[in-house]
Symmetry: C2
Amino acid sequence: MTAAPKGNLVVGQSGGPTQVINQSLVGVIEEALKHDVFDEIIGAINGFAGILNRDFVDLRRESPETLEAVAATPGAALGSCRFKPKDEDCEEVFEIFRELNVHYFFYIGGNDSALAAAILNKIARDRNFDLRVFHVPKTIDNDLLVTDHCPGYGSAAKYVASSFIGSDMDNRALPGVKIDICMGRTAGWLTASAACARRGDSDGPHLIYLPERPKSLTEILDDICAVHESNGRCTVAISEGVVGPDGFEMISSPVIADELKDLGMDTILESVTVMGAVEIAAGGAAFDAFGHSQLSGSGALGDFFANALKIYWHRRTNKKLRIRADTLGYAQRSFAGYVSKVDADEARLVGQEAVKHSINGEICGSVALRRIGNGENYFSEPFLADLGEVAGLGKPKKDQFRPVPDNFINENGNGMTQAFVDYALPLLGGLPPKGILKAAPLHHKPTSAH
Amino acid sequence: MTAAPKGNLVVGQSGGPTQVINQSLVGVIEEALKHDVFDEIIGAINGFAGILNRDFVDLRRESPETLEAVAATPGAALGSCRFKPKDEDCEEVFEIFRELNVHYFFYIGGNDSALAAAILNKIARDRNFDLRVFHVPKTIDNDLLVTDHCPGYGSAAKYVASSFIGSDMDNRALPGVKIDICMGRTAGWLTASAACARRGDSDGPHLIYLPERPKSLTEILDDICAVHESNGRCTVAISEGVVGPDGFEMISSPVIADELKDLGMDTILESVTVMGAVEIAAGGAAFDAFGHSQLSGSGALGDFFANALKIYWHRRTNKKLRIRADTLGYAQRSFAGYVSKVDADEARLVGQEAVKHSINGEICGSVALRRIGNGENYFSEPFLADLGEVAGLGKPKKDQFRPVPDNFINENGNGMTQAFVDYALPLLGGLPPKGILKAAPLHHKPTSAH
C-alpha cells in the first residue's frame, strides 16, 4: 500500500452492455466527485480503444440529473469495446496516462475486461508506473471467479424468469412445445434463472439444458416427448452454449452431426451449409479456426431443436405437434425499464467501492460480493478481491470462468435444484405474481331451462 | 331490445393470448357477480372448443384474491383456441346452451373471435334462440375495425418500445446494424410502436418497415446502408409481415426471389429449400395452398435480412459489418410484470361494459373504445359497436382488419410520423427514462505530470 497520489482518473466500460452497467459508472463518478485527490474525472469512449485513440470526455461536466438518468438506462453510456490489450498497447496506454497525469484507472466489465485490467496492472507493476487499476464487475453471464454473483446478472435473470412466466402461461393457453433459447455461451447461469419462473408443479420451464451438461440430441428430444406425453405440453429453456457429448456446441458438434445422420435428419444439417455459403459470400469463412462450421443465424439453434422435434414427434406418433421456438436475444441484457432493484443497487455500490479502495492505499483489485444473509434476509457486502485471481490470469481460457456448480443442477442434467433457486431468487429483487384459476368443474346440474 | 332473461352466462377466450386478456375476463366475472339476473357464471375451457366438449368451470367458486392475481397474469386463464365455427357447430352450441339454460355468451378475442361471435349471433337470431352475444376485444395487433384501439395493444407496444430503447442503447455502445423483427402479420401497428422509443434525433429505430408499404429488398438494404454511412450505426424495426412489391411476404415473394437471383444472392434462398424439406419430413407440406414455400423458422426473416445485408455491405465497401438480428417473439404478447396501466384498466373496463350492456336490453355487440382527450389529457370511453361491423361479417378477409392509415406512415414508407406517435404514446402508459451523457470532450490540457 502506498499513499494515494493526486492525479486524474480514467474510467471505461467494456464487453457486452447490461441493464445496470451504467449504475456502476455513476457509482465511480459520484464517489470520485467526493474526493479531492482526483483532479479530472475522465471517461474513455469505447474502453481501451478510446484510450488508445485519446477519445476522452470530461465527466465533471455532467449534471447530477443526467447521471441519475444514465444510471437507470441500459447500454454502456461511454460506449464499449471488445479488446484484449497486447504488451505494446499497454506501453502506449502508459505513455498517454503519463502525459495526462492519470494515476487511477477503473474498468467496468466482465471476464475479458478483468483480464485486460489484470494485464495492464501487471505491466504497470513491472514498469514501476504508478497506476491504480481496479476492475468493476458486470456480466449477465454471472461467471466471474471469486465473487458470489455479478452485477448485471440479477436484472438479466429477472428478465429471463419474467419472460418464462409469460412464455409458460402462453403455452398453457395454447398447449404445445415452447422452446426458448437463452444467452450464456460458456456458463448456464442465465438459462438456469428460468427455473425461478416455476411456482407450482405444473409450471414451466419443465426442462432446462445448460452447457455444463453435455447431451445427445436424442436425450433432449426424448425428454421433451416424455414431458409432453404426461403434461400435454412442455416449456423448455436451452442455453445457446449447450454442447453435444463431445463438448462442442450442439449445432457444430461432429458427434451430433453423426447422430442426425443416424436419425435420417440430414435435411436439418443442410442449413449449416447454407449459412457457411453466406459467410463466404460476405467475405468471411464458413469454418472457424477449429474447423467447425459457423452457424450464427439468430434463430438457428431454436429452429434446429424445433425442426428435429417436429420430425421426431411425427415419426413417433404420426401426428403434428404445435412447436414454437424463440431466441430471447439482446433484450436479456438491454430491456429498458425492468431491472432488479437489488442488482441496480449492488451495481452502483461496486463502482463506489472501487473508488474508495483506490484512495485507501490499495493499488489494484476487483470488487467482489459476499453473501451475508439469504432468502428474505438477503444481504451482501462488497470486498476487494485479487485482480489476477478474478481474471484467472495465467489460467487456461476454460478455467477463467465459473460454471454452474453440480449441486445446482438436477441428477438428470435437465433442470435446476432448489439450492439453485434459493441462490438466484433474492438477486432478482422480486418477480410478478402468477394467478391461476382454481377452475372447479361445473359439476352440479345448472338451473332448469325456462 | 328485450328484457334480460334470468339465466346462465358463459365466457370464453380465443386467439393469441395477451398480457391483459385476463383483465377482461375478470372484468366480465366481477360485473356479472353484481347482478342477480345471472345464475351460473361459467367459463368455457379453450373457447369454442370447450363449449363443444362441454368443458366448463364454475367461476363463482374463484376467490377475489385469485381473480385479482389472474387479472395481472399474462396468457389466457381459461385457455384459448383458434376455431372458426361452422353452421353445424353453432347448432351444437345452441343445443348445449339450451340444456344448460345459457342466455349470455361473452367471447374475448381479436378479429377471428369477433367473427366467430358474429356467426354464432347471426345463426341464433335466425333460429330465434334467445342468446345475448358480446364480443370483448383484445389483440396486440390493434387491427380491429371501428374501435380507436384494442386492449392488449398498449402493453405489447410498451414492451416493443422498451425493447427498442434497450436495443438501440446496446447498438450505441457496440455500433453496427441491429434488426429487430416484430409481430404483426397483416397490420404494422405493433412494429410501428417502436417509433415511441425515439426521443432525440440520434435515437433508433432509424428505419421502420410495415406490411402496409411493399418494398423491394434493395430499397431496404440501401436505406440501411445510407443510415449507417451517415450515423455510424443503424437500428431497424421490421414487421414479420413485410411484403415485396408483389404483396407477398418478403421471404416467399416470387419478385423478391427474382431480385435475389439478380443480386447473385441465391445462397440465401437455399434456406427456403431446407425448411421445405423439414416440413415434408415432419408430415407437412413444403408449399402452402398458394404455392409459396413455407419458411417458418423462428429467426428466418431476421437472418434473411442480416445475411443479405452482410453480403451487400461487403460488396459495397469490401468491409465487414457488425450485424445482429433478433426476433422479438412471444414475449411481445406475454412478458410478465410489465404492462401499460392504461391498457390494463381499459381491458378490465371492456369486460365490465359488455356485461352491463347485456342486461340493459342489448342483444349483441362488440365493446369499442372512443378517444376523448389525447396527450397528457388522454381519456377514452367505451361504447357498444355493431358486432357484424367489427367482425367485418360478409367482407373479404383483407377488409376484416384495419391497417395503419397513410397519415401515420412517412413519405418514404420507412418510418412513422409524429401523428402516429401522438396516437400511440398515451396507450403505453409511460416509458422508462433514457439518459445519455453530455460527453463534453476533454478539451483543456489536464494538470501537468507530477
